[in-house]
Assembly symmetry: C2
Homo-oligomer: 627 residues x 2
């Protein structure tokens, strides 16, 4: 008996306002269709139907729906569905609201834009003159070249592959024994990558900050050190989950999940690179080396390493310092032979993005004690000076990034970024990104809320609402009491609930408790911190005084605070171009002691003490003015 | 206008006695057809139409002929043609005479057959137990493994590729933190090649002697050191030329010539390997490492390195010590990731086969002064002891291998291997290999001729015939006076001419002059040599007393001479299995001083003095009995 099979049915999904139409096999959901169309949809929970972030409006056609977690009754009535839970049963048209999108403006490309001084790039072309062989000096070609290089470089271990040796006799003789030799450093060794006729050809290096949400890339001229181009994009992995945990789960629970996630991040980076190459009229073969900085999970997903055990106690990554690989073996579309380095991390939750940041601050060589804070999807901190360094990580960030906050969103168009509350909460003014009608609230707005709510007596020290019946902004929502911040689009009011305020307090408490735990380990008071470096997208929009008022950041003079910009990308560029940066990074990453907060009791005690506004111990926040 | 193209015409070539028929495109010659049929034809000059070695009998059909160098009038009349110069114009049938074939019995597989004691093979599997991670000890998987290996091995530089790191987390946990780790040594570093569940699986290493004419290969069990199989075959490169010079020329003068030659030697080795694997029921993936020993040209052709400058003054190879490569990148059909090592040579004419031989003798660690001689297609010699080593090479061999000797041939069926001459040359008896009717004369027969001719007064000290009109064995041939040794096949008499005798004298003179030149460099007399090691196929059949009588070898007591067998293969096996052998080889190859005979006047003077039988200075040969 044979079985006749026709073509499997496909569903056409038209996506507005893009006007893109993609065809997906029957049974695939809208999230997969949107990923296929390469539209940067947010999907915080990784397709579980729980977070409501991937809400889209069904305009035409029918879908088979699963869960609808995170959608309000009004949204359901208006035709919103969850992309991850909707399988088209016929051709459909959907609209993606702005609030469901990752916003490119969140990509921090750099803080200062200074070019890094070139001093020993990871790949360099040098001119070598050899004495031609004679009967008295008949040394073999490779031996002759190696002798001269050892003399010039003073280094012992220089490697050449068979590919180079194959072309060597011809090139040396055609060029009259004067050649360009390209040398790459990898894993502490020097590799002869290419021997060619002397020429003016320029070679480039790629530096990449692989963020969980956004990716920034920079092409640098390896001869001058000039940063020829820099670009950013959302990480295409976002459709598989908004934070590292949901992506690790996706990688583990889906067949070929790891490959999909690796493909997504590679697709993002390759897209950025090809755009820059086109603009600069550079061939991909001339990009000879790459340096990537990312958190430990991002590094694992980029290299195709199994991240499963990063999220399971005792939180062990496959490799904190993965070996360099060739671009071709990884799938990075530059010269396939280009060595691709990932900056070393310290632990599962202190990755190469953080060591890059510490490198950029220079704190590992300074006498003064400094604190480095990167609050992104996680909160990562490093404290110390040239004598010692201690690091910790707390899952603080998600609330500030909008996770666990119904109307939380990135600092995109329409996000409430500043909140001014006065008259005991009767008067509320909001400023949105782009002055657009408010569609949600981002991290800096949430910090403002917390600070102002407390100052104006809207909440008590524990974050509980102090109800005033005459204030109509208080109301009872689906999940308990909430406070109306503003009227929004689609007649949706932007609110913040008591539960969400408690979430925010837990987040700010985690950051401060982490800082105090590190200080306790070395027996120092908060005042010992002479400098605080803020990194990443969160630091950029943060009102430091407000953050101090909530008790998240130490109550220290504002001039001790400095904003670093994208220190992960900057660190990657430094490592690409400077031998001394590489030496410093190696030293510092060997020096950092990771403090596992889950391991002792200190963090827990500190956390409990920090669950008040600004803190149980008010002496820690002398400058905070309590009316 | 369009042009109709049919299939290009092909010619069928039937080859007897094999009964093989191959189809070749119009325009290709019979040598190409025979190569296609994988029949081991000799082609000394590499297809130049000069040497006459590739003579075949045209039985049916017509060919377009070019040159006919090396064919006698009788042979031409009998229908012999040169395969390299004959392009079929229709389907043909040809017969290949025995004397045109390379004989497999010439492959020396080993001298003694002793197994090498295993002490640190290049690839080894060890059992590693790791302490599982905990919150107090959350080191990453790779770091944990590297720490333990550094502790066990005491070595600092251990490398792991991304492939290993990718599977590491899963394997470690599935196996309960007790695993087999396979380690490879390459270029002075240790590589983690594989981490897997503990198992009894056996891994193998391949050792190969890549000779110009023949190739011998051995598979060794990497756990026990047992040599599981050993095999030999002719080098399929033979059809491109019999000696290294003609192959270098072929590689340079033909498009893709180098690729063809590389393909031929790889084809030979892959054939041997696959035969052994089939016999032993081993998968090619279980052969994890390879070590090859060959002369410098063979090593270049095997690795695809340009050999052009080996034959041009000042005789400089691409690499004496080429870097190891992965089998897959070279084309060797074992595990594609297997590191493939070629033993280091000293110069263009002292290759890895010779350093292997010196390793096997142990002379580089002994107090006594020893001489190592390998007379193959070239004559290569090393003199010295643990204090010093000097090496030279002279193009001595070809005459003894049959080159420049019309009836010269390898020690194959029908080759005259012993010649007994008495009664002043009136009585001549010949013994042939396999007692077959004589079809030519091989090296040992030629040495006998030279010694007996002189002893019986057939020739004078300079190699000139002393004519005796009553001896009908003297006659005038096409190329001057000659001496009939025996009647042969096809009514062809096996002769040796005065010109050929002069050739042989030049060859023996070159060997002795090389030995004397080395001795002079260190200021020692011949008697200082306490041991002489003879290597390779030539040494196996040599009558040492006769060789001394001609003045080729030093006049020393016969018990100082030792025959080594295939010391190239033995050395490769030692390097595969023994760390101390690798250390010794590295030391000795750094210690050998290469004496370029062409560079000074010493060799020339010694050569001129040695152009007499046995020598100008008879005091050097006191034991030679001159009637």
């Amino acid at each position: 008996m044979t079985c006749e099979l026709g073509d499997p049915p496909v569903r056409n999904v038209k996506i507005i306002p893009w006007g893109k139409t993609v065809a997906i096999p029957d049974g695939e959901n809208l999230l997969q269709a949107i990923a296929e169309a390469e539209i940067p949809l947010r999907a915080a929970c990784g397709g579980e139907g729980a977070c409501g972030r991937c809400r889209v409006l069904l305009k035409e056609g029918r879908v088979r729906q699963g869960l609808s977690g995170g959608l309000t009754g009004e949204e359901l009535a208006a035709g919103f569905i969850l992309a991850c839970q909707s399988v088209p049963v016929e051709d459909v048209v959907i609209e993606i609201p702005e609030s469901s999108l990752v916003d490119l403006r969140r990509v921090v490309l750099s803080g200062s834009g200074r070019d890094i001084s070139l001093s020993g790039p990871l790949y360099r072309k040098i001119k070598v003159e050899l004495r031609p062989p004679s009967l008295d000096d008949p040394k073999d070609d490779l031996g002759r070249l190696l002798d001269e290089l050892r003399f010039q470089l003073g280094d012992g271990r220089i490697n050449a592959g068979l590919g180079v040796v194959r072309t060597l006799p011809g090139i040396l003789r055609e060029s009259g024994w004067v050649v360009n030799v390209s040398l790459a450093e990898a894993g502490g060794e020097i590799y002869i990558e290419q021997v060619e006729q002397v020429s003016e050809s320029k070679y480039y290096g790629l530096a990449v900050d692989i963020g969980t949400t956004t990716i920034a890339a920079c092409l640098a001229d390896l001869e001058s050190g000039r940063q020829a181009a820099v670009r950013g994009a959302y990480n295409k992995q976002s459709v598989y989950g908004e934070d590292v945990i949901s992506r690790i789960i996706y990688a583990g629970e889906h067949k070929d999940g790891l490959e999909e996630l690796q493909g997504a991040v590679l697709g993002t980076i390759n897209g950025l690179v090809s755009g820059m190459l086109d603009d600069l009229h550079i061939s991909s073969g001339d990009v000879k080396v790459a340096v990537c900085a990312g958190n430990t999970t991002m590094t694992h997903l980029f290299l195709g390493l199994d991240p499963a055990y990063i999220r399971l106690e005792p939180y062990v990554p496959a490799a904190n310092n993965p070996p360099p690989g060739r671009a071709g073996e990884i799938g990075l579309k530059i010269n396939p032979g280009a060595w691709t380095h990932c900056l070393p991390g310290i632990s599962s939750y202190i990755g190469g993005d953080i060591t890059a940041g510490v490198l950029v601050t220079g704190m590992a060589e300074a006498e003064e004690i400094a604190l480095f804070i990167d609050v992104g999807t996680n909160g990562e901190m490093v404290l110390g000076n040239r004598e010692w360094l201690v690091a910790c990580s707390c899952s603080a960030g998600p609330a500030f990034e909008g996770n666990g906050i119904r109307y939380g969103m990135p600092a995109a168009e329409g996000a409430i970024e500043r909140v001014f509350i006065s008259e005991k909460g009767f008067r509320v003014e909001c400023r949105t990104v782009g002055n657009a009608p408010p569609s949600g609230i981002c991290g800096s707005g949430l910090i403002d809320c917390l600070a102002c709510f407390y100052r104006e007596g809207v909440i008590d020290r524990a974050g509980k609402f102090i109800f005033k019946p005459e204030n109509r902004r208080f109301r009872e929502g689906d999940e308990g009491p909430e406070f109306i911040l503003a009227g929004g689009l689609n007649n949706r009011e932007i609110t913040i609930s008591e539960t969400e305020i408690k979430n925010l307090i837990r987040s700010k408490a985690a950051v401060f408790a982490g800082i105090r735990s590190m200080l306790k380990t070395v027996g120092l008071p908060v005042e010992a911190i002479e400098r605080i470096y803020l990194a990443g997208g969160f630091g950029r929009f943060l009102n430091i005084r407000q953050a101090v008022a909530t008790g998240m950041l130490p109550d220290l003079p504002e001039d001790r605070y400095a904003y670093l910009g994208n220190s992960s990308l900057k660190g990657a560029v430094q490592v690409l171009l400077s031998k001394s940066a590489r030496r410093k990074l190696e030293e510092l990453s060997g020096k950092v002691t990771y403090l596992e907060l889950a391991a002792g009791k200190t963090f827990y005690d500190e956390f409990i003490s920090a669950l008040f506004l600004p803190h149980t111990d008010l002496n820690l926040f002398p400058s905070v003015n309590f009316k």
